[in-house]
C-alpha cells in the first residue's frame, strides 16, 4: 500500500519537531502537577487551536483536575464595525473559587486572551493563570500574564499541532513555519 503523506506538496519548514514538543509538553505537565497539587483545578481550553495541546498536556499530568472549553469570536476585516467580541461557546462548569488555568496554543497580540481574562475574572475564580504552548512576544499589543509557556517564537506564522491555516494543517505532529499565499 502506498503511504499517504499529507501536505507533502506544501513548503513547510519544520520549526519544532514532534520530539521537541513532546519533551516540552511533558515538562509543562510535570510543573503544573507540582504547582497545583492539592488544589481544585480546572483547565480551560480555548477552542479550537489548543485541543491537541490540551489533550497531550493533561495526559502528562499526575493530579486530579476538571476540563472545560471556551470559544470566542475573533476580529476579521469583514467584522461589522459595530461588532464586539463575544463568547460563542461558554463554559459548562462554574469556576467560582476554583483554580483556573487557561490553555492556549499560541499567545501573540494578547487581544483575545486579554478579553478572556477580563471576562473570567468577573466569575471570581480562586486564581486565574495562563499556559500557552507558543508565545510570540513580538506581536504583543495587550500585556497579558503568561505563567507557563512552551516556546518563544519570533514574528512568523506557524501551523501544525492544532494551529491551522484555513482549517488545514492542524493534525501535523510538528510545528512548521508557513508562508501564507
Amino acid at each position: 500500500m502506498k503511504e499517504y503523506k499529507p501536505y507533502q506538496e506544501d513548503q513547510l519548514k519544520i520549526l519544532l519537531t514532534q520530539e521537541q514538543i513532546e519533551e516540552k509538553v511533558a515538562e509543562l505537565g510535570k510543573k503544573i502537577s507540582y504547582d497545583y497539587a492539592g488544589k481544585d483545578l480546572i483547565l480551560i481550553g480555548v477552542l479550537r487551536g489548543s485541543t491537541y495541546f490540551m489533550v497531550d498536556l493533561t495526559r502528562r499530568m499526575r493530579i486530579p483536575f476538571a476540563i472545560d472549553f471556551i470559544s470566542i469570536s475573533h476580529y476579521s476585516e469583514q467584522t461589522d464595525s459595530a461588532g464586539v467580541v463575544r463568547i460563542t461557546k461558554d463554559l459548562d462548569l462554574s469556576i467560582t473559587d476554583k483554580h483556573v488555568l487557561i490553555i492556549e496554543d499560541i499567545v501573540d497580540t494578547g487581544l483575545s486572551l486579554g478579553y478572556l481574562l477580563r471576562n473570567l475574572k468577573t466569575r471570581d475564580p480562586a486564581d486565574l493563570k495562563v499556559c500557552t504552548l507558543l508565545n510570540v512576544e513580538a506581536r504583543r499589543i495587550v500585556e497579558v500574564p503568561v505563567d507557563y509557556k512552551g516556546f518563544d517564537l519570533p514574528n512568523i506564522f506557524v501551523v501544525g499541532y492544532g494551529l491551522d491555516y484555513n482549517e488545514k494543517y492542524r493534525n501535523l505532529q510538528f510545528i512548521a513555519e508557513f508562508d501564507r499565499p
Binding site: 480555548v46 476579521s76 467584522t79 464595525s81 483575545s112 499589543i141 506557524v158
Partner: protein, 320 residues
C-alpha cells in the same frame, strides 16, 4: 521639511544636477555660495575668504568648531522654513539622523571626470588632472577635518549614481523620483497652533479636530480595538524629538494610538520594511528621550497577520 543632499566627486556634473533637482522639486539650492553668504550674516567669515582653505589651514583649530556650529545652525535654520537641496558641505552627515532626507552620492571614473573638466573649463589634460586631484583631496580633508568622517564611504548614502553613461537631466530625474519614493508620506508635525507643549509632549487642545484617520489601516485598527473592547485615543500626543539651537522643533513624532488602560502608545506602519525601519529609528529616539513612555511599532507583517488571520472562512489561525 524635505531634504536632498548631494555629495560628488569633482567633475561628475554634480553642480548642474543639483541645480536641476532644485528646479524640478522647487527646493531651495544650498551650496557653498549660499553658505558663505549666510555665515557672513552670522558674522563669521568674509565673502572673499575661501572657507575650504580656512578649514584645512593650520590655525583651523579654533575656527573649525565655530564654523561648523554656525553652518549647522544656518542650514538647520533654512531647513525649518524651506525644502532644501544641499550640495556638498557634508549635508549627508548634518542630516544623517533625519530619516526622510535622501542622501545622494555622484561618482564617475577619474578619466571621465578629467575629460568633463577639460571641456567645461577649457583646460589641457595636465591642468585638469591636477585640478580634479586637488579638489577631491580638498573634499576628503574637509570631511576628515570637520566631521571626522571618511568622504569615500559610499555606504553613508541612500543612492549612489554613476554619471559616466548618464545624461545630467536623467540623473536629476532619478534623484527626484528616488526622493519621492524615499520620503515618508507623512510630514513631520511642527507643533501646530492650538497645542500645549509640556516636557516635550504636545497635547492637542480640547477643540482639536474630530477624529480623522490618516490611513485606512488606522481606521481598521481602531475597529479592531473596539471589537476587543479596548479604550483608545487617536494621536493624542506629539513627542518632540529634536530642536535646533533656537529651540525650534525640527523633528517630532505622533504615535497613532494610545491605549490608556495599557498605558501604551502604538505606531502602525503598513509601509515597506525600509520605511518601517525609519519609523523604528524614530521610536528608538523617542525611547531615549522619553524612557518612561511605552511605545510599540506594529509593522506591515504584524498588521496583516492581525487582519488576515481570521478573514478567510472565519479562519481561526492564531490565538484561537
Amino acid at each position: 521639511m524635505g531634504i536632498i543632499t548631494i555629495s560628488r566627486e569633482f567633475g561628475c556634473g554634480g553642480e548642474t544636477i543639483a541645480r536641476l533637482v532644485a528646479e524640478k522639486t522647487q527646493f531651495l539650492l544650498v551650496n557653498k555660495d549660499t553658505i558663505i553668504q549666510g555665515l557672513t550674516e552670522y558674522g563669521i567669515g568674509k565673502p572673499e575668504e575661501d572657507l575650504d582653505k580656512i578649514v584645512v589651514s593650520d590655525d583651523c583649530e579654533q575656527l573649525v568648531p565655530q564654523y561648523v556650529d554656525a553652518m549647522h545652525d544656518y542650514i538647520y535654520d533654512l531647513a525649518i522654513r524651506n525644502n532644501l537641496v544641499i550640495l556638498g558641505r557634508g549635508g549627508s552627515i548634518l542630516f544623517r539622523d533625519y530619516p526622510p532626507a535622501l542622501h545622494v552620492r555622484m561618482i564617475a571614473q577619474f578619466t571621465q571626470r578629467v575629460q568633463r573638466v577639460m571641456k567645461l573649463y577649457d583646460l589641457n589634460s595636465e591642468t585638469a588632472v591636477k585640478l580634479v586631484k586637488e579638489k577631491d583631496s580638498e573634499k576628503r580633508r574637509y570631511y576628515r577635518q570637520i566631521f571626522d568622517a571618511n568622504w569615500n564611504n559610499v555606504r553613508a548614502y541612500d543612492l549612489v549614481l554613476n554619471t559616466e553613461k548618464m545624461g545630467l537631466e536623467d540623473a536629476a530625474d532619478i534623484i527626484v523620483s528616488a526622493y519621492q519614493t524615499h520620503a515618508s508620506p507623512r510630514e513631520v508635525k511642527n507643533g501646530p497652533g492650538g497645542v500645549d507643549i509640556e516636557n516635550g509632549i504636545v497635547t492637542p487642545s480640547a477643540d482639536a479636530e474630530a477624529e480623522k484617520f490618516m490611513h485606512p489601516s488606522e481606521e481598521e485598527f481602531a475597529h479592531m480595538l473596539d471589537f476587543y473592547r479596548l479604550r483608545w485615543e487617536y494621536e493624542p500626543r506629539t513627542f518632540l524629538l529634536e530642536w535646533d539651537s533656537e529651540g525650534n522643533v525640527i523633528e517630532a513624532f505622533s504615535p497613532d494610538f494610545y491605549l490608556p488602560d495599557q498605558d501604551l502608545f502604538i505606531e502602525l506602519t503598513t509601509q515597506k520594511p525600509r520605511q518601517a525601519w525609519r519609523k523604528n529609528r524614530k521610536i528608538r529616539r523617542m525611547k531615549e528621550l522619553y524612557p518612561e513612555v511605552n511605545v510599540r511599532l506594529i509593522d506591515k507583517k504584524g498588521f496583516e497577520s492581525l487582519l488576515k488571520k481570521h478573514s478567510i472562512d472565519q479562519d481561526e489561525g492564531e490565538e484561537s
